[in-house]
Symmetry: C2
Subunit: 229 residues, 2 copies
DNA sequence: CGAGAGGATTTGGCAAGACTAAAAAAAGGA
DNA sequence: TCCTTTTTTTAGTCTTGCCAAATCCTCTCG
């Protein structure tokens, strides 16, 4: 059985090792706002219990069982967020903290019932896919708005941020999952981006552009097209 | 801030001191299935934090703040039980354990939203009254079926039991809150009770009769009445 | 009144998790 | 390569809660 703290670590390792191959001690520490020494201690315990492979001074990766456990927690979190928004009138900026606590207390049975009431939702309110119960799952990464070429259009798919203030700000700009946007230009040296969101011209700092995952749309040339018509 | 464990202790003390004036160490230990020494330790901590007055070798009672805290937890628990049954299709025997975990993770905000969706319910699925947020509250005790005089009729109001098996058994006999019943006779020495529940004749062990709280109905004399007519 | 009996408390241990400070290892720069 | 910086780990401490065993109160009965 995994404790709430252990579940948080497994989630963090899962998320960190989607990019890199192994999660580093300092990465986990930063994500969980915990001292580095605490992380080493927990990794040792998780390794003993078979949830993690820990190579000292290198990093940690999840075992199969650890990944299963992480995905169970992520599923609980995301179903909870969806339920809070759709059934209880929460807004997308209010749900993270609540779900963060409930995910450790809710049974899988409860989560399944919630999912059923919601019609087996595929995504949480921030656009993140919800793993199905007990099934393998790969969250394929999307490019962020910071990666998008100038002049390209895209659909905003996921918002990778938890801060309520930031989320409210983004919603105020129309930047919610599903929004259609066009990037006009990006100022150099991490300067702001100029873009159109659902027809409105907007400015956005570079920092925030990195938390917006987008699905680029097929190039549509403005003046006449160059492939067969 | 009270920890989950502390909340469990406060709840236990609240429930134990509704009968007696102070909760005893062994009473709390039995209720929480914890060693007596653990209770003494926790009482000391709770007393330091001002939730409890502890007189060694005598017992503990809640301070005003402790009672407030206990009632908040009880409200959370009962709203959760009601929500699980009414919105998520749980049966009354399945909800206790789930609510027992969620009550420590759910915010008061969430509970209020759930209560609102349910139309501010007054009682949980077992008939226990739900304290209103932040308001004083007295759970006036009712007599149990074990106290009822032979020949009297009553309405079953509350079922004070958590065991799923027992609850299913009781439901099978029609013994759910709101059921109308008549006690015909009680066998001596803790023997079974013979009663009619919603028109069906039933037998019930003495043990279980003590967890059924009833509201006796006005005496209706079978053959002609003796007061003015 | 004195002696038990039975609860209650104290003591000593353990495990989880967190922190800080210091030691060790890895990485990077000149 | 060597020396400095950064990162990790180790070591020691704290708090919360739990247990078991030993001790201590209290109350009742003879």
């Amino acid at each position: 059985m995994t404790s709430p703290a252990a579940q948080d670590y497994l989630k963090a390792i899962y998320k960190l090792s989607r990019d890199r191959s192994a999660a580093t001690t300092s990465g986990i520490a930063a994500r969980l706002r915990v001292a580095a020494g605490s992380v080493t201690g927990m990794l040792k315990r998780l390794a003993e219990q078979g949830y993690v492979e820990h190579v000292p001074y290198y990093g940690a990766r999840l075992t199969e069982e650890g990944e299963r456990e992480a995905l169970r927690t992520i599923r609980r979190h995301r179903v909870l967020e969806a339920f809070l928004v759709q059934q209880l009138g929460y807004t997308w900026d209010e749900v993270h903290e609540e779900a963060e606590r409930l995910e450790h207390a809710a049974s899988d049975e409860l989560i399944d019932r919630m999912a059923k009431v919601l019609g087996e939702p595929r995504e949480d309110p921030h656009g993140h896919p919800i793993p199905a119960r007990g099934r393998a799952f790969i969250e394929e990464p999307l490019p962020t708005l910071a990666d998008l070429e100038e002049g390209r259009s895209a659909v905003l798919r996921r918002v990778t941020h938890e801060d309520p203030e930031a989320l409210r700000y983004l919603a105020g700009l129309g930047l919610v999952p599903g929004a259609r946007l066009t990037l006009h230009e990006r100022a150099p040296f991490g300067g702001p981006l100029r873009l159109t969101v659902e027809g409105e011209e907007r400015l956005l700092g570079h920092e925030l552009s990195r938390v917006l995952e987008v699905e680029p749309l097929d190039q549509v040339t403005a003046k006449g097209d160059e492939n067969d018509g």
